[in-house]
């Protein structure tokens, strides 16, 4: 398959993830949608690595994997802290920092 097919799939997944971040209210699902966007970026990186025949893009994808794992850890810790304080697990009602 040509490389541009992979890039189109990557763009599609990225857009679905971005739409999920806009539409959903549950912070857990918003984290999942962020994962989708990071995975789309990973797919594009690996497709370009294949196009150039250079494995640097795969290293970049691995680092993105690590960053995504960190984001998941901190995000889930935040959600557990929200739940412990019996605040609503809903991003529309958590607007104290908005001023």
């Amino acid at each position: 398959m040509a490389i541009d097919w992979y890039l189109i799939v990557s763009a599609l997944i990225f857009c679905i993830g971005a739409g999920g971040v806009l539409v959903r209210r549950n912070p857990l699902v918003i984290l999942l949608c962020l994962e989708l966007m990071l995975n789309a970026a990973n797919l594009a990186l690996i497709a370009f690595a294949r196009m150039h025949g250079n494995s640097d893009g795969q290293i970049f994808a691995l680092i993105v994997l690590v960053v995504a794992a960190c984001e998941v850890t901190v995000g889930l810790g935040l959600i557990v802290a929200i739940f412990r304080r019996r605040l609503p697990v809903d991003v529309d009602e958590l607007r104290e920092l908005q001023g």
Partner: protein, 234 residues
Amino acid sequence: MSAVIFFIAAIGAVAGAIGVVALRNPFYSVLALVGHLLSLAALFLLLRAEFVAAAQVVVYAGAVMVLYLFVVSYIGGGARPLTPGGSSLRAVAGFAMLALFVELAIAVLGSSLKAVSGDGAPFVPGFGTPEQIGEALLTKFLFPFEVASLLLLVAAVGAVVLARRRGGTTLEDEIRDSAHWITPRSLFSGTMAEAVGAVRPPHEHGDPGTAATDENELGRPVVTPAGREEQGGW
């Protein structure tokens, strides 16, 4: 053959992504993301990224998703309505999504890169194997590798700090507010929390006649159960 595998995996990946966004129960969203990640690993294999595909399946679809499932079952994610403001916000979000996709498609297909529509560089044996990845990580990309390990350490410490029991919610508050769903039995009927002294029946410290005077004769302040519990939790 590779085209067939590509289309199956691509449809699986896109369907998994749509499932993450569209399913109401967060539990099913996580399961859809697992399917999405497995399809994406197949795409990575087609692009000859063997090690990244294996890492994706083991680390992502295995470990990270289990962490998600733990948190979903901890906070008990029930089905919630999808949109706060009815269909108007959904329409705006859909329009933004579509605009973004058109823009990205124009950027990809209209780029002046000729190789984009080709099959890529000729395959070199050893491309994407763990051997090559490991060598690159420990020679050319040593600094990003170390920074990534430091980032993981910081994230682990941050998660422990964030999710620990706070000073703001004392144990007594939690027991009082959550007793109706933590303990199936009513309080002060011989529960385990009583056995370890975490909760006391009201008559033990509610009688000021006998207990309070004993301690006041010794010249000490009356120790209330609330004060005792703030010093030592579970």
